[in-house]
Amino acid sequence: MKSSRMNRMMFVALLVVGFFIMGMPASGLAVNSSFDPSKMSDMSGFDPNTVVQPTGDTFKLGYMQILSGPAAANGELFWPVVNWVAYDLNKRGGILVDGKRKMIQIIKGDTQGKPAATKQEAERLCLEEKVNVLWGTSGSHLAKIISDVSNKYKVPFVNCLSLSDELMDAKNFKRYTFQTVSDTTQWNMAMAYFFKNRPQDKRFSILCQDYLYGHSMANAFKKALAEYRPDAKIVSEDYHGLWLKDFAPFLTKVMAAKPDILYTGDWMPDGDNLLKQARNMGLNVPIANIYITNPEAWKAVGVEGSKNLLICYQFMSGDTPQTPAQKMIMKAWHKQWLKWKEPYNKLIYAWPDFVIGQTLSDTYWLFDVIQRAGTTNPEKIISTWEGDQYGSIQGVRTMRAQDHQALFDMYVGVTTYPTKQVYPGALYSKGYAGVHKVTVIPEKYCTPPIPEGLKNRLMK
């Protein structure tokens, strides 16, 4: 009697455990790994101005960025990001690869914003410095070059900054490249889907930079808008040269078209100048954008001028962090930022939000994959990352195996004023608007199709 009761109890217990395990995918717990904020090191000693790179038998990350020339701001912007992650993991004892604990060493590669220099530096990092992974970069045309080099020398390349759809299409796809940033289609699907719930916005003006990226963004937005908002109308469409000095003629055309929304894909300094000159001219419509996220620009246009920026990105906190991990990172980073000196004491570094938060999250993901792979062998890293599901600082990231494009929820934030304290004593923004309300765009509404030619890649 006793033994049959025990057997029944065992059976019930197994049943409960079984249902629990089966229920895990439904509950969203089917990630392979997650960022664990409780394990983060004490970052009180971190200062990007005084980082000391470890030497010896290290794990080398090649930091491919624009470090000189007119666009050197790009290289400066992400230096604290990669070093923050390296500092954190090094303080934990490094990463366990190839049976050894290795410290992470960041080695710079200056693309100068030029294709020839990019190729030269990527090759130097691969062949002379023997980096284990390449990280970068601003400029899709440069990312393509790095992707080619990484494929040639079999060094994994994480593209966390360049958006062009072409980078991971069937023609340009390279096994050693993983794109953790949204592509142009993904981003514009999310932006267009956001307007699905804003029927009052019917008239859209487009003003983008006159080169491949600007036209790609505009085309992708128009396509996505036609799908999610067939009633919407494009009332004006213009393209301006890079580093435009005078936006006034373009803004006059926009104002004459009387749009409800101005859409732009402009990045710095064009995005900031567009905002300044638009508000100066009295164009106060909401501006749908990706890169007008420099608090210096928001501050320059003041409270009224910085309101109504509709920012779409794959990482967004604003004054209300979405997850405990995000809240912890926001607090830890901001506390350190208060101590940093030039050039890192600028407002753009104040919070690890938008592109800084995204690259921070992606870099943690990269090292999580490497640690799970347990090796510097690129083939094992590739097989670990393909199809991986990771609980990042903000939400689940899936690395689609066929084309190595990461998938995730996107977020749209609207700047309003005033903003709240992110943690006691730390106001998100003072004297200018900031992101408060964040709308989640679920992954299913902004998943780009798998490129033709790659759908059956893994079946070969």
Binding site: G69, P70, A71, A72, A73, G75, E76, L77, D210, D238, Y239, H240, G241, W243, K245, D246, A248, P249, F250, T252, K253, A256, M268, P269, D272, N273, K276, Q277, N280, M281, G282, N294, E296, A297, K299, A300, G302, E342, P343, Y344, K346, I348
Partner: protein, 289 residues
């Protein structure tokens, strides 16, 4: 006002504002070349440096203090550069000047990066110049009207300075016949230094005026410098009136080009340069050497 008239008037004022801004940047460059025969390719970099000075001074005090102090600081630096660097190569012709001033420009860029970093910095438009002025159905930004008025004021002041004052007379005489002026007991090298400082001061003024409109970043010199160079070439090297006319022309062509032929608008400036130089190689008001 009909819509087309509204557009024509608005774009015309934009063109005037932008053109006068270009003139402010280019005026110092053309005067230095015209009167001192110095090809100063660092001119745009002094303009950039002044924008950074404006950021620093306006941040600590206000825009109006920056409008006075930043150009003066730029001028002092300009005079030191002329006295201790450019003067050494002046006698050797334009190529050494070109090389030296390009080098000076590079040093200035690296200096601003070292002090202020590479990120874009912003200067707020002063409150009194914010807002709009109604022109009938049109509401035009006050700051752009300020640019127009301020630049015209500076131009008139320059004309008065060089035609009606003793300093202007000495400068014109010294650039025509330095030996004779020196023989009359006038310190010609000092006059040249002061004049170079004046040209740099104009670049400094332009840097301060532009700062509320554009991001202040290390690429600012490249962003604006090319257009200023085109203004100088089209107007005629050394001609202030040529620079004025060329700048207005370029500003208007840019605005109307964006309005009516946007696909070729970026080319219009260079098309103008090509046409002018093919008809008159010395520029609109340039004189044959």
């Amino acid at each position: 006002m009909s819509p087309i008239t509204f557009i024509l008037v608005t774009q015309g004022i934009h063109g005037l504002a932008y053109g006068l801004l270009l003139f402010l940047v280019a005026s110092g460059l053309t005067m230095i070349f015209g009167l001192m025969d110095i090809l100063n390719l660092a001119h745009a970099y002094f303009f950039m440096l002044a924008a950074y000075f404006c950021y620093a001074i306006a941040g600590a005090t206000d825009f109006w203090v920056a409008l006075i102090v930043a150009p003066v600081a730029t001028a002092i630096l300009g005079m030191l550069v002329e006295r201790y660097l450019i003067r050494r190569v002046h006698a050797f012709g334009h190529i050494p000047q070109l090389v030296l001033t390009v080098g000076i420009g590079m040093v200035l860029v690296e200096a601003v990066k070292a002090f202020w970093g590479t990120q874009s910095l912003m200067v707020q438009t002063p409150k009194i110049l914010s807002g709009h002025v109604p022109f009938g159905p049109l509401e035009y930004p006050v700051y752009r009207l300020f640019i127009i008025a301020f630049t015209i004021l500076i131009l008139l002041a320059m004309v008065q300075l060089f035609s009606k004052t003793r300093f202007g007379t000495i400068v014109r005489a010294a650039t025509t016949n330095a030996d004779m002026v020196g023989a009359l007991g006038i310190n010609v090298p000092l006059i040249f230094t002061l004049f170079f400082g004046f040209g740099t001061w104009l670049a400094g003024l332009a840097g301060v005026v532009v700062a509320p409109l554009l991001s202040v970043f290390p690429g600012l010199a490249d962003q604006v410098g090319l257009d200023a160079f085109v203004v100088v070439v089209v107007g005629g090297l050394g001609s202030l009136w040529g620079a004025f006319v060329a700048a207005i022309l370029i500003g208007l062509l840019n605005s109307y080009g964006v309005q009516f032929v946007p696909t070729i608008a970026p080319l219009i400036t260079f098309l103008l340069m090509a046409v002018v130089l093919s008809v008159k190689p010395t520029g609109l008001f340039g004189k044959r050497q």
